[in-house]
């Protein structure tokens, strides 16, 4: 489970990539994602991976990307083996396996360089409904809090003699009740309190709430955006032409 944390959790950092407008970061990720899907030869996939790693290097997240990909390596090997057994050549199977790594890498690039705040602004810019955006924000805000609750619950129940590691499979499942029930109850209570607080701050008063901050494209964002689209188009044509 740890690799997922490394793959997708944002951490503040000073880099030219992090500083870009989130819409541009999304654009670049989508472009790389598409190239990964279209890659059908070793050259294609190497080019795509090279770009992903260069951008990761620029964003100073090379180590994190590397760790992520190390964990997805297992899955990649599986893809390789299955395709090979089904009848594809070694090279094709290899490309398909590595393609998976590129897909995860390109998505990871976006999430590692974009803060939840920025994600929220992007969602608003796409005119997603207020409830959806708010649900996302609340989830990101409170999942860590709920995780802390879970730890406290486990501590409390262990202190009452609950031993989670002992017993056969069925017993161990039964032993989850003292953990899960308080967790659900706590989560429900929190939601209730949140709902009260939301209402008390006029949530839903207006159909389209305004915003303190808004996304503005700077010159650098525009130039990077245009540059990436041009390069993408060129590479796409090259890939598709065989």
């Amino acid at each position: 489970m740890y690799w997922m944390a490394n793959a997708f959790i944002f951490r503040r950092r000073d880099s030219p990539i992090h500083a870009l407008d989130p819409r541009v970061k999304l654009l670049i990720s989508i472009e790389l994602f598409t190239l990964s899907l279209i890659s059908s030869t070793i050259i294609h996939i190497s080019v795509t991976l090279a770009v992903i790693f260069s951008i990761a290097a620029l964003a100073k997240i090379l180590v994190r990307i590397y760790r992520t990909l190390l964990f997805t390596a297992g899955f990649s090997i599986l893809i390789f083996v299955i395709n090979f057994l089904v009848g594809y050549s070694i090279i094709t199977s290899f490309v398909l396996a590595v393609r998976f790594i590129a897909i995860v890498g390109s998505t990871s690039l976006f999430f590692l360089t974009t803060s939840p705040d920025e994600l929220e602004y992007v969602m608003k810019w796409f005119r997603l409904p207020q409830d959806v955006v708010f649900a996302f924000v609340t989830a990101v805000r409170f999942v860590p809090v709920l995780m802390l609750d879970a730890i406290q619950i486990m501590d409390a129940q262990k202190s009452r003699g609950l031993e989670l590691e002992r017993g056969n499979f069925i017993n161990r499942i039964k032993k989850l009740a003292p953990i899960l029930i308080p967790l659900v109850v706590t989560a429900v209570i929190r939601s209730g309190e949140l709902a009260e607080a939301m209402e008390a701050r006029a949530y839903g008063a207006v159909k389209n709430p305004t915003s303190l901050y808004t996304l503005t494209l700077k010159r650098r964002d525009k130039s990077v955006g245009i540059l990436s689209v041009t390069i993408f188009a060129a590479v796409l044509i090259y890939f598709l032409s065989g």
């Binding site: 209402e199 006029a202 839903g204 915003s211 303190l212």
Partner: protein, 280 residues
């Protein structure tokens, strides 16, 4: 004098309950008053507060008789959002009322919900931040600030909406004593600066009685005392119903059969002054 709150014969049953949570409550509060609401657990304090900001009857359904008015608006006929412009509500748990990833954005939350233009939001957010003295933490995330700071952020977020009434529901119960004292002093200062009307629900009266204009005591859904703190605390029966009467007041009750004091002292310093006067 304009009445901020007026409750007339208000009775409320939560859905499915046969016992009323509030029974025939009459309460009127003038602008600029600081009112404490105290009483044992289950006496109806939180229910009363919810009836003022509209959570009752709009979010918590039930049956009621009588009416509650806030700033001359009938609570039952206005949405919670509408009432939120008049009543600011600060909840007990600092964690569950901060929604956004940064302090500044959370303070803006209510204003964004009201659809105010960006410049006005900016202005009010800055005003609230300065008012509460939280400039250095304005860009921090909720997990990076203490509970005492979180309560200040909550107050800022609520005051940014410029209500005339501020309600605080046990705001200090999860805070250490020094942070609790800080918070109460802040609320007092805000009351003086903005002529805010303040209603606080609290168990621990010792920090509050000296600044309150009125002490309202509830039991079993009814208001049993509603007067200046000095007058209410003179009544010994409060001790039997579980109200946290300050030690210095209990001491004076204990000394009553020995000697009588001119007025009831609410703090140690007042008490010592009285003793020195009485005995020269």
């Amino acid at each position: 004098m304009p009445k901020i709150i007026e409750a007339k014969g208000f009775t409320f049953y939560y859905s499915g309950s046969t016992k009323p949570a509030l029974s025939d409550v009459d309460l009127s509060i003038d602008e600029g008053e600081i009112v404490i609401i105290a009483g044992p657990s289950g006496c109806g304090k939180s229910t009363l507060l919810r009836s003022v900001n509209g959570l009752i009857p709009h979010m918590y359904s039930g049956t009621y008789q009588g009416e509650v008015y806030v700033n001359n608006l009938k609570v039952s006929e206005h949405t919670i959002s509408e009432i939120a412009k008049h009543v600011g509500y600060v909840f007990q748990n600092p964690e569950n009322q901060i929604f956004m990833f940064s302090v500044e954005r959370d303070i803006a939350f209510g204003l964004e919900n009201l659809g105010l233009p960006r410049d006005e939001i900016r202005e009010r957010v800055d005003w609230a931040i300065n008012l509460l003295g939280i400039r250095e933490i304005s860009l921090r995330a909720p997990h990076e600030i203490s509970d005492g700071q979180k309560q200040r952020v909550a107050i800022a977020g609520v005051l940014a909406m410029k209500p005339r009434l501020l309600i605080l529901d046990e705001p200090t119960s999860l805070l250490d004593p020094l942070s609790a004292l800080d918070l109460i002093n802040t609320v007092n200062r805000l009351h003086d600066t903005l002529n805010l009307t303040v209603i606080i629900v609290e168990h621990r009266l010792d920090l509050l009685v000296s600044i309150a204009d009125r002490l309202v005591v509830m039991e079993d859904g009814r208001i049993i005392c509603n007067d200046k703190p000095r007058n209410v605390l003179n009544d010994e029966k409060l001790l039997t119903i579980g109200v946290g009467v300050p030690s210095v007041v209990r001491l004076q009750h204990l000394l009553k059969d020995i000697c009588s004091f001119k007025t009831l002292s609410l703090t140690p310093s007042e008490f010592v002054e009285q003793i020195n006067e009485a005995l020269g």
